[in-house]
Amino acid sequence: MNGFKPRDWNSHAPYIAPGYKSTILRGPTKPLIALSGGISEASGPVFARAAIRDLDWDLTRNGRVNGEPLGERIVVHGRVLDGDGRPVPHTLIEVWQANAAGRYVHKVDQHDAPLDPNFRGSGRCMSDENGNYVFYTIKPGAYPWGNHFNAWRPNHIHLSLFGPGFATRLVTQMYFPGDPLLALDPIFLGTPDEAARNRLIAKFSIEKTEEGFALGYQFDIVLRGRLATPMED
């Protein structure tokens, strides 16, 4: 017993998802072998709050050279929870994304949309003792990719989390409500269950919107739950 409930495979995409062509040669083809696990999977790396520097959680500022980054400022709020709704405190969240024009800083990205000298597009934050997190950024643009004719990725932000153990590790993407590309995107659609898929879409929040500054989005992230409710004390 590794301390966590089995992964809910209805919430995750299969390794081979033919609509997303790259999976065909890269996803494992043989069945996974069950591993009841132990302390190796129940434990995992921890990161100190000191790992988060002052501007890491503000992508509108951490890449500035000589001015404001271009695009629509947003503030992303959310909670990191487990499958029983318990907060996951003090867990590191790493984020990365394209700029407002749909271009990544990565040198391999050859899309001819402009780079923004004042936007790097990466940062990190940490959930607090109640599982709450927040970061500021620019709404990422859509961009074309080579998967199929006229393929464009919907606007999205990549997020990486550890949670309490190596078994709870998650890398995911946050999407935006109302994006017409979602219905056409084989990465988003790779998650077969509609309800699960819709958990990848943030909610616009006028309450979280900051007057005159940034539009608010709410995005809760649910990691695997524990096998048993831990004692409160």
Partner: protein, 195 residues
């Protein structure tokens, strides 16, 4: 009330400046790198190298490997990972896009056997473009065959696939190196676990 898990999604090809910035030359700090055990860590210092190979046997240039392991006495670190630490960190992360052969590489110490296991091993997680959910595997060591033969986890794996979990040691002028190639598909497809 139960809450459904947030689905996993691919890291995509451009994870470098989010997850492995220093390795890829970006001017932004890392939270972890290929050094799992610093020079002051106790134990036998070793190097782990390998490639991630796709269904055509081609090395993957946009994969990222994470490892998590016990120290030389079989204990997991509960201290925060700090790349300034020259001792045992336990956690490492390396992308395959900065080496000419698309190798990943870790500097670490050979782990001791953890309390509830019967052979020493390292937890390995594979992320890459083209994989919507990351994959878990384990690295065992080829120089402890008798110990491996008693390991219930290895024994739970079909005999003809067990070798895919066992790293091969070479003693080099710069120290012991274990080779651990990860085959995503094919006759030698690496065993992946449902953890």
């Amino acid at each position: 009330m139960t809450y459904g898990e947030t689905p996993s999604q691919t890291v995509g090809p451009y994870f470098a400046y989010g997850l492995t910035p220093v390795q890829y030359g970006y001017d932004f700090t890392d939270i972890a790198n290929h050094v799992v055990a610093g020079r002051d860590a106790k134990g036998e210092h070793i190097r782990i190298t390998g490639q991630v190979l796709d269904g055509k046997g081609e090395p993957v240039s946009d994969a990222m490997i994470e490892i998590w392991q016990a120290d030389h006495e079989g204990a997991y670190s509960t201290e925060p990972v700090s790349i300034k630490d020259t001792g045992f960190r336990g956690f490492g992360r390396c992308g395959t896009g900065t080496d000419g052969q698309n190798l990943f590489m870790f500097e670490t110490v050979k782990p001791g056997c953890v309390a509830d296991a019967s052979a020493p091993f390292i937890n390995v997680t594979v992320f890459m473009r083209g994989m919507l959910t990351h994959a878990f595997t384990r690295l065992y060591f080829d120089d402890v065959p008798a110990t491996n033969a008693n390991c219930p986890v290895l024994q739970s794996v079909p005999a003809d696939r067990r070798d895919t979990l066992i790293a091969k040691r070479t003693d080099t002028p710069t120290g012991p190196e274990y080779r651990f190639d990860i085959h995503m598909q094919g006759d030698t497809e690496t065993v992946f676990f449902d953890v």
